[in-house]
Amino acid sequence: MERSDNADSLKTGKTFPDKCDEADKSILYGALVASLSDMGQGLVIIENRRFAYVNQAICAMTGYSEEELLGLETFVPLFHPEERQRVLERHIRRISGEQFDTCYETAFLHRDGLRRIDVEMSVAFLRSPNRHGVVVTVRDISERKQIEEQIRRKNEDLEQLKIGLEKMVRDRMSELEKANKQLIRLNQIKSDFISIVSHELRTPLTSIKSFAEIMLDDLGKHDQETQRRYLSIINSESDRLSRLISDILDLQKIDSGKIDWHDEMINVVEVVRRAVDTFSGAFVEKGLSLSFESAGDCMMTEAAPDRIFQVVANLLSNGLKFTEHGGVEVNIRLVEAPYEGSAEKFIRISVRDTGTGIPQEELSRIFERFYQIDQSQGRKHEGAGLGLSISKDIIDHYRGRITVESVPGSGSIFCVLLPEQEQPRKKLGEVLVELGMLTETELVSALEKQS
């Protein structure tokens, strides 16, 4: 009965002390004080701006002894330096009568002067006729703060990660967009190319088809001279068509990287001389001069001789095509660092003609595919405008350069630069084999033994 009464009064917290007599109160007080000093939370009672009571927990929390705390003249050293200003302001506001939370967070400085102890304080006021003070409970929330701080840092890291990821996604998107644009552009180039190729293929085919059909339909109505003329048109247009097809295949091979270059050490002087010889007859036929001059007999580079021949032949064929009076001069010499940033020695092949020349505004475009100079007389010259484009691809492949200068009306000069490479010195073994002093098998086995 008594117990249940007590339990009831504990619940209400009102009547319990009143029901005790003085002796009970004294025992209860002792028990309360003992439990206060043992409780996990710090507890202090402040009277007249000094500690009147401190428990064990607050001592353990702050590192001060009970005597030290009770002897403190001011509480300032107890607070962490970062908190002191706020505590002071709070105090000033309180004595000026302002209302504020009785529960708040702040931080202590451990007696060692280093450790920060985050705490939550609850303040209760003691007001009786003869005693004035405050009871403060102090809970160490350092661990919670640390966890909060960790969470905050983790959140920050996550935020950074998110920002980084978003940036990555944006960068990737813009890369993809760029790649997509590039693909669309390439696709357009490809479809333009196909359209132009089909046009260029149909053109010679049209002449072939027309004259073949005309000859078939009007069989026997033409004299021999006319027949010869029509057949020779069919013949030359067929040649044009097959040249065009091999040019297109060349371009395709170069583009797809499938070309078999067959590179070897070649003497460029010889290759150019061979090309000049091939064309000499055609120049004589048109009443034009063709001269060849070289500053040396031997200038070596590593390249496919057929491809270099193709480039020179193309330049000579253009010179022949666009020159009516005068002729073409071919010149070879070695030059050092012919353009800014080039350190090597280059072989310079120049082909100068005294032809119609190329207007300034067209110079930059003549290496484009299917580009043909807009002839003032309107007649197109034979060819699809692929020769210079292929030549440029070939020379680019060999880390060379092809350039053009021109004065309309007086002629053009095309220059090809190819890096010069000295012939690698032959190894002694190879020389011995060449001289017949050693067989190939002997050389191989000797080299194997050596290694």
Partner: protein, 127 residues
């Protein structure tokens, strides 16, 4: 007086084959080698028919066709477009420019002779 046909193509061999067809129909053949020249000759000579290539230096065939068709003085010239761009959209472009006929290259001279004959009102001579 012989009827006049203007042939405009920058490919000399193609122009020659068209000229052969024109001759075979008993007409006078004039030739131009670019768009500007074709426009000039068409205005000066007022041919019955113009056989016009599309891709040419200076001015393309569509532009020549559109200009001639939009001018009352030359709108009566019948125009046959010849092009090596043999796609549907090229036929549409030539229709849009007001051409009377569209033929893709390579064309059949036999068919060209028939169409030319029809446009000229010349009955094709039976061989």
């Amino acid at each position: 007086m012989k009827k006049k046909v203007l042939v405009c193509d920058d490919e000399p061999h193609i122009a020659e084959s068209v000229a052969y067809i024109v001759d075979s129909l008993g007409c006078e053949c004039l030739t131009a080698v670019n768009g500007e020249e074709a426009l000039q000759y068409a205005r000066d000579e007022l041919p019955e028919v113009l056989v016009l290539d599309v891709r040419m230096p200076k001015m393309d065939g569509y532009a020549v066709c559109a200009q001639l068709k939009s001018d009352v003085a030359t709108a009566g010239i019948r125009i046959i477009m010849l092009t090596a761009f043999g796609q549907r959209r090229d036929e549409e472009a030539s229709e849009a420019a007001g051409a009377d006929e569209f033929m893709a290259k390579p064309f059949s001279p036999r068919r060209l002779r028939i169409r030319l004959g029809e446009l000229l009102g010349v009955a094709e001579r039976i061989r």
